[in-house]
């Protein structure tokens, strides 16, 4: 998967499944503030990432994810790691 494909997939599930306003999704925007996730939503984000990209997020991974760009890169790197493995 290219990074562009990752971005398209992430944005698509955030808009379609998490009902995030597409206009608010920019690379620099703060992920947590934009998504307004509570602990239950976080579980659903883990599920949707697993179903689209085939890896499971662990809580510690999210510590360093602040912006959408951080999130895209995190997913991209995880998918690359999985492909190499």
């Amino acid at each position: 998967m290219t990074k562009e494909e990752i971005i398209k997939t992430v944005n698509n599930f955030l808009v379609e499944e998490f009902e995030v306003d597409a206009a608010k999704i920019t690379p620099e925007a703060n992920l947590r503030e934009t998504l307004d996730l509570d602990s239950l939503d976080y579980v659903d984000l883990v599920v949707v990432i697993e179903s689209h990209f085939g890896f499971k997020v662990v809580g510690e991974d999210f510590v360093n994810i602040h912006t959408f760009e951080d999130f895209y890169m995190y997913c991209f790197n995880k998918v690359q790691e999985k492909a190499v493995a």
Binding site: E17, L40, V43, K56
Partner: protein
């Protein structure tokens, strides 16, 4: 003691997705039964079922609300939103009261099965998602609706097999009558999917008249061969007369009697003694005699044994009155956990519009049903007081009496 009135009704059933559609189906004797191939593919003896559409809630509720709702809660949201609109209860007003909710529901098999299948496949409990627990519990209806509508009164689910919906109205009635509550959202919900009743089918309880789906449910008819599973949701808004009048609400009917009993006997067989005691208690509670009842909405599900016993119990109590009787399950199939509530909704529609919905497919009586006055064709007649029976596994019996308001 407060008088208890009905100020709103709502339905999502195989007879229609709102009260107007349901009224037309009841009046014209339209069956909601069909054949569903997936049941046959799964090994069901009978692929007959009530055909109930799954509501589309996207656009009506946000994601957080939707992901926690099992199928009974989805159905119940639709019937309850209709009933609240009819009762003219706005969300802002509801939030400032102590409105309660008691709903009958006794399974959420589909959500439970799907969650377990996911855990088995993924070997990871988190991957079932955040909503699985809230979807899978019997209280999925009340926990979700109380959250959506910000209800602050009594809040619980009532599980009493196929009498769940009726007892929920009975409980709401008692709470309002004694003054503990002023408004209670009551009802019943029943999931409709092939996961729900596989083992019930295995007990040979279902009709196998698959070549004639709309003729398969034939309560009291000599040639009945079993029930047809069905479902959806029905909601009845109960309110004290004082509250309804203070709000200027339109009053649809008054609940004047509730009777109940337990057979104390077999787990699935009906009991004339148990049903008779429930009927007699409801009449005592309403301070009525059998001759005062204008119409009986029977529980009769189209099983050979159950209908026979109910016909005997009705005959025993109503004997010389020749009271008109019909089972709307001839059109709906057996709406199980929802049935007691939906049949109060159907009875309220009949009361308001002065007609008796037909017991369709009643062609030939048997030895017991010939002793009671079964209405096989729609009958337009003034109705003032209506009685509704509901019975469930484990021998739980419930009878409600409603009256035109005056």
């Amino acid at each position: 003691m407060n008088r208890v009135v009905i100020t709103g009704i709502g339905a999502w059933s195989c007879l229609g997705k709102n009260i107007e559609e349901v009224k037309n189906s009841l009046f014209t004797g339209k069956s909601g039964i069909g054949f569903e191939q997936i049941r046959k593919d799964m090994g069901y003896r009978s692929a007959l079922t009530g055909i109930v559409e799954t509501p589309v809630l996207k656009g009506l509720l946000d994601r957080r609300a939707r992901v926690s709702m099992g199928q009974p809660a989805e159905f119940a949201y639709m019937s309850t939103s209709e009933a609240l609109r009819m009762a003219n209860m706005e969300p802002d007003w509801i939030e400032k009261q102590e409105v309660g909710i008691i709903f009958g529901n006794d399974s959420v098999a589909q959500s439970t099965m799907e969650a377990i299948d996911t855990v088995r496949a993924k070997k990871d409990t988190m991957l079932v998602g955040s909503g699985a627990t809230f979807q899978s519990m019997n209280s999925t209806v009340t926990m979700n609706l109380s959250t959506i509508y910000k209800l602050k009164g009594i809040n619980f689910t009532l599980a009493a097999a196929c009498a769940s919906g009726s007892h929920s109205i009975g409980m709401g009635y008692l709470l309002i009558r004694t003054g503990l509550q002023q408004q209670v959202i009551c009802g019943g919900a029943q999931e409709v999917n092939p996961y729900t009743f596989g083992s019930f089918d295995g007990l040979s309880a279902f009709s196998i008249r698959e070549n004639e789906p709309t003729k398969a449910s034939r309560p009291f008819d000599k040639d009945r061969d079993g029930l047809i599973p069905s479902g959806g949701a029905a909601t009845v808004i109960l309110e004290s007369l004082e509250s309804a009048q203070k709000r200027g609400a339109k009053i649809l009917a008054e609940v004047i009697g509730y009777g109940f009993s337990s057979n104390g006997d077999h787990i699935s067989n009906s009991s004339v003694d148990g049903q008779t005691r429930s009927l007699e208690m409801s009449l005592r509670d309403a301070k009525l005699s059998p001759k005062d009842i204008d119409y009986i909405n029977a529980h009769a599900t189209s099983t050979p044994g159950g209908d026979r016993v109910e016909a005997q119990a009705i005959h025993q109590v109503f004997n010389e009155c020749n009271t008109p009787v019909s089972s709307t399950k001839s059109m709906t199939g057996h709406e199980c956990w929802m049935a007691g509530a939906s049949e109060i909704v159907y009875s309220t529609i009949m009361l308001q519009n002065d007609f008796i919905a037909p017991n369709i497919n009643f062609e030939n009586p048997d030895e017991d049903s010939q002793k009671i006055n079964i209405i096989a064709q729609t009958k337009q007649t003034p109705l003032n007081i209506v009685l509704s029976n509901s019975f469930g596994f484990g021998g739980t019996n419930s009878t409600l009496i409603i009256k035109k308001f005056n």
